[in-house]
């Protein structure tokens, strides 16, 4: 099957999936036994029936839920996510403002996490049941078990406040000039504008939160890599490769790792998705203005349009990440190409 047909088929499958997600998030948002009027209108307007009615009409809250849902779908089809009750901005604009921060952080964390995780996994599998295997596995367990906020605070205190190796919280220091907005990704934008100080600051501020999130996913990835590698290393073609006299490094990386990667790629995809979906705690501690914090604020103020918008975004992120994972399978596993 050619690649474009494969992708097309996958994309078509996602449409009913997204529809289902809009329905579920709409139902959950409406099931909350609280009136958004109370969360969003000032006290002085709550007693004014006209104003309350106007508010309900403005946000479509006066219509029956079924009609509300279809109005929402209709707007969605026209590319309109609605306006946030809290920030009074179009949701799409809000997301565009907060998502790049999260993408930047999640990407860096995933790169760190995959590098550490896959390396640890290979080491662990190759030196199976040797001391280094145990050491690496304990490290992995520690990475998975320590709460992110503990790691984050210890990291900030030690590496920023005491040692001064990395810059502090936030995406940029208050004194660092912002690069002109192009992509919203500060590293890219400062490269484009050639603001080297800004670039250095932005990179320095990514390291610590990136590492904190990376340690968590590295633990998962190293364990999957290890077990998958162990399985592959025992297979017949590995022995064949060795008997051909290939170099050990080549055997492990080319014959072993590339065949062991399929389950690993799945975990990487899922981790990346979950990081993009917002690492609320990490974003909070590192004063990182990302989508996780936006979603937290939206939920606490019962900002239905924003909650729906972000839910949809998260679903979409998972769908896209899964699609990419499937495409990677296509290249990793010739058997998928054949069917």
């Amino acid at each position: 099957m050619p690649i474009y047909l494969f992708i097309l088929r996958r994309v078509l499958v996602t449409i009913p999936l997204l529809l289902g997600i809009t329905l579920v998030s709409f139902l959950i948002a409406n099931a909350i036994p609280a009136d958004p009027i109370n969360a969003n209108l000032p006290q002085s307007q709550l007693n004014n029936e006209e104003l309350v009615a106007a508010f309900r009409a403005e946000w479509g809250l006066d219509k029956p839920p079924v009609e509300q849902y279809f109005t929402y779908l209709n707007n969605l089809l026209h590319g309109n996510l609605g306006r946030s009750i809290k920030t009074r901005q179009p949701i799409a604009e809000d997301i565009a403002r907060f998502l790049p921060a999260t993408i930047e952080l999640a990407t860096v964390a995933t790169v760190f996490g995959v590098t550490i995780g896959v390396t640890f996994g290979i080491v662990s599998a190759v030196w199976h049941k040797r001391p280094i295997d145990y050491a690496v596995r304990v490290l992995g367990l520690v990475g998975v078990s320590i709460p992110v906020f503990v790691l984050a605070l210890i990291g900030l205190t030690v590496f920023h406040a005491q040692l001064g190796w990395v810059a502090g919280p936030g995406r940029l220091g208050a004194r660092t000039p912002d690069p002109p907005l192009v992509t919203g990704l500060l590293v890219i934008d400062s490269l484009i504008s050639g603001q080297w100080n800004t670039l250095r600051d932005a990179v320095s501020r990514l390291i610590l939160p990136g590492m904190v999130l990376a340690l968590y996913i590295a633990g998962l990835i190293s364990r999957i890599t290890r077990s998958s590698m162990l399985e592959v290393l025992g297979l017949d073609y590995m022995r064949t490769a060795r008997s051909k006299g290939l170099r050990e490094r080549w055997i492990i990386l080319r014959h072993g790792l590339s065949n062991a990667m399929i389950p690993v790629v799945t975990v990487i995809g899922l981790s990346y998705g979950s990081l993009l979906a917002g690492a609320v705690l990490t974003e909070s501690i590192f004063a990182w203005p990302g989508i996780g914090r936006y979603m937290f604020r939206a939920s606490t103020s019962q900002d239905f349009p924003a909650i729906m918008g972000v839910s949809l975004l998260i679903a979409l992120i998972y769908v896209v990440v899964n699609l990419i994972v499937d495409i990677l399978y296509y290249f990793l596993d010739p058997r998928i190409r054949a069917t």
Binding site: P42, Q43, S44, Q45, N48, L51, A54, K86, T87, R88, L153, L156, T157, H160, A161, G164, A167, G168, P169, G170, G173, A174, R175, P177, Q195, W196, N197, L199, R200, V203, S284, I285, F286, A287, P289, R293, Y294, R297
Partner: protein, 523 residues
Amino acid sequence: MRRFLLLIVILLFGVGVFGLSAQEERVLVVGHAESTDSLDPAHGYTQTTGIINRVTYETLVTFPDADASAIVPQLAADWTVSEDGLSYTFNLNTAATFANGDPLTADDVVFTFNRLKYVQGTPSFLAANIASVTADDADTVTVVLATPDPAFLANLAANPFAITNDAQVTENGGSAAEDAVTTDTAEAFLNGTSAGTGPYVLESWEPQVETVLVRNANYWGEAPYFDRIIITNIPEAATQKVALESGEIDIALDLTSDQLSTMGDNADVTVATTPGNIVHFLLMNNDPELGGPVSDPLVQLAIRYALDYEGYKALWGGITPASPLAIGQLSAYGEDQAFVRDLDQARALLAEAGYADGFEITLSYPIFTFQGVNMETNAQKIQADLAEVGIIVTLNPGELQVSLEEYRTGQQGFAYWFWGPDFLDPIDVLSFLPSGKVGGERANWTDENADQAIIDLRDQAAVESDPEARVALFQQIQDYLRESGPWAAFLQPNVQTAFRSDLQGYTWHPQWLINLALLSRVE
């Protein structure tokens, strides 16, 4: 590949050296957990809005830099109040100009007050009692109230009454008409531009990220020290602490007391301590059914003598208030008028009341720590203090909401609570007098069982608007509360803020918390 990596490293860490050199600009970086959705004075009513608008706008009258002990002029040069306390006439300060160069006129005041009233934003209730605002001439404005309100001037010092530029706001969708709630669209404009007369102007506000203020080049008053103030949003207090210690921020506004207590040995950081405006007190219910022995005025006075005031100060820092009226407010007695522990006097009073051998009583209080003061600890100290005069106290801690409910419905006989003023005018203390919100409803001190003297004082203080007469009245009320009434106010704890040691001019204020324009750097 290695060469490529090396190149990146050089790019990232090397080139910066040749980048921007030392900045001439004086920049202040403030770490703050942002809590606002609006910088429009008629809409925003949160701590963050107050801190920012304190330096981008000004009000007709204001408080002194450090407390609320007086009403002082700001945009109004002087004012007069009519005999009936209904009509306030302000002569504007003719030197005042807006940041865009426009002179301040009476029309701006009319516009501001009407817009606040009709836009029906969160703080609009403050203007509800205004019947009319009229410009008598370009520099004189008269406000007529619907009912007399001696606290009106204190309310005018609040940030929602910040005077906005009529022409500029109207041009950008503002309306002060009666239908402003639906027709005014200036909030978005005011979230990006400050239309005020303050020492700073709003350069940008990126919600949840940072707010940038720059010096108002047209400021009519004394220019502030810093050219630029950046208020960076750091939601976590623990992160603020780290950022302050590393010098990323100059001042941290939201640290908790346990974090501050660990910063003492860091020479780069100064922790400033000021008495706050929260008063901790004992409630002794006047209803004998509920209060038992503590409903007896002699016992109430004995308990005031029995408390170890210095001990509470040693525990938490702070001052001893003379009554439930917090020190720092207009007419409030200072610490020199406060009670001093006198166990002999306490025992004599108890004997006189017929309790020479003491009595047993239950003390109710919530399990709660407010601004770092743990009420459980204080309750145990109250127990120990009173044991010395033979009063055996059984502690009855309650879950906050449950205990609060009992307190608010007046079911607690002997209780420990605290009070933060709703607004910074001594009239707030009338809540503690007979039939007041706290006095009547919670301590059963009513017009039926109270002395006529205090009832008369209360009724006069509620309507008197002459400043000197007010001070005299509130001092008489405090004199009365010293000897009588169901209260033993025992502590006004400190509030603390931490900043870099090279920062000076920090002053805590009960209304706006901090005036950023007063800060400067030691050079």
